[in-house]
Amino acid sequence: MIEIERVSKAYDGNRVVDDLSLTVPEGAFCVLLGPSGCGKSTTLRMINRLVAFDAGMIRVGGEDVRQVPPEALRRRIGYAIQSIGLFPHWRVEDNIATVPRLLNWPRARVRDRVTELLELLRLDPATYRAKYPHQLSGGEQQRVGVARALAADPELLLMDEPFGAVDPVTRAALQGEIIRIQQATKKTIVFVTHDIEEALLLATDIAILERGRLAQWGTPLDLLEHPASGFVAEFVGGEASGLKLLSLRTVAERLHPEEKAEGEPLFSDTSLRDALVAMAARHTDRLPVVDRTGRPLGAITLADLVR
């Protein structure tokens, strides 16, 4: 759990983070979202004290971060950034082993952990261990960056636009990986992005920041359905936010039980957005719904999608 209490930070009298309070629950995937200059990166970097805050208090796991030596704190917290920052003179193996070695883990344990992480990130250990960063593609480099951040099994993972510099296909793959890893490891993640689509895809909780202040804190659905201000409504997409809302809700929430319809059925966990796509593609306003085992559940109509 991370508790941020009334934290402020100013550069040359200019407040980049202004009286910010936020509590990220254990195991949450918290996305800090906002336009550039809103203070989201600064907030992230204050958690592991790469940036010193002027006022307020931050606690990680109940412990005041200023009571811990900064290096010890950072070794407990995973850190991945957009520019990756792999050490170019170290092999993949050494890069991933950075924090375990700083913590003086025994050699064999480090080696096993590197193997485990390469497998977790779907990089073949035999192929990748001994490569140098310049021999990897951008996507592979960021996989190594994420593996490095996870190496010492940190209680918390800080990620600053980690997928901002890779191509869309690689990006989608990496987003899939991080969801899978978060579900498997139950780690608390704080993730900075300016991309609303990425935030809606990954987050359990979203904090929207506006000029250093918290504009809204809630689940992705909250943000779309009940934007707290014009700024939030505008940022989550204005008129187009309706379409995003469709992608967060599933057919199961809107179907008519017992009713029947013709055609290839939809699964009940299909998003309403995909249901709309399917109806448009098949020139129909009504489709049957089944569960994952194929058992019929009912039908859904075009009118249900926008109800």
Binding site: N48, Y79, H89, L102
Partner: protein, 396 residues
Amino acid sequence: MLADMTAIRSNGVSKLHNHVLPALIGTGVAAVLSTGFVTVAPNRLLSGRPIGLFAAADRTLGVAIAIIAALLLLSALAPPSRALQRAAAFLAGGLFLLVLATSGEAAAALVGGAPSLARVSLGAGFWILLGMAALALTDALQRAGAGAGERFAVIAALGLATAAMAHAGLFDALSLAREYKTRHDVFTAALLRHIILIAAAVGPAVAIGFPLGVAAVRHPRVQEPLFAVLNLLQTIPSIALFGLLIVPLAALANAVPAAAALGIGGIGPAPAIIALILYALLPIVRNSVAGIAGVDPAVIDAARGMGMTRRQLFWRVELPLALPLLIAGLRIVTVQAVGLAVVAALIGAGGLGSFVFEGLGQYAADLVLLGALPAILLALAADFLLQMLSALASRQ
């Protein structure tokens, strides 16, 4: 041979694959035809009369040189391959040694076995031929894609072969060797003194310059005044700097007897070493700053975010990444110091420069050469070794 070349060009059958070799060989041919391979003087103080390669040397040696040159020229016409370039390198290396051996043979033939005042010196033709052979070798090694190890082996082999020829007395008749013979007892000491001067200057220059460079990166404000001072030092002519140091160091030796006991004085090695250190500081500091400041900020951010301490960041990340540039700086100052240390003989620092100035005073060109030639070889060797070290450091 020139006629051969034009004939090959005009018949248009063969295509020229290497333009460097014909240019080198053309220059060599022109040098052989127009200048003396060696010069002969009645005694060591008079300037000599040039004698061409074929007039001076044994006929077979001259012909052998011509044949190797012709073979090298032919290799420029063949389609390039690794094996061909290796063969060309082998030929060029052979040519290099053959030119050296021919100079010794020519000298022996010209002065005969009898003790005589006559002197045989190396002529322009010899130097040009030797230079062309060395360039042809470098070119062939480069085209063959030779690695650092291979280059080292080739240069070591040439050095050993030359040393063996010298040891066998092949060059004894040359004026240069006779100058060496009369001074061989002081030569080794002078060479050693030269190396010590360089080490005594470069070591402290790194010890002072590297921390200064690191400090300049950490505190950007000091960079401007620091570089202003270092640049100013670099603009002082070396002879003037040696001279300027005489007065304060003499005063120091007078005032502090312990300093004088350590050998510090207005003349001698102390002012020379101090001047060499001052000249070495700018390249060392500049490359240290460039090396440390050139480390990707993302790498530093990641290192700090992982929990490295300042010290760990420096030793594990910044220093290894800056190392290739640091070695490049070391290379510059070492080569520079070899040359500057020659001038330092003027203020009594000793070293190879003492032969140069003695030779200048006596108007004896071969004595100048006895000091200059080892200095050049020393500079080349230092440059080569540090270049290899730099390649090793940046391999990762």
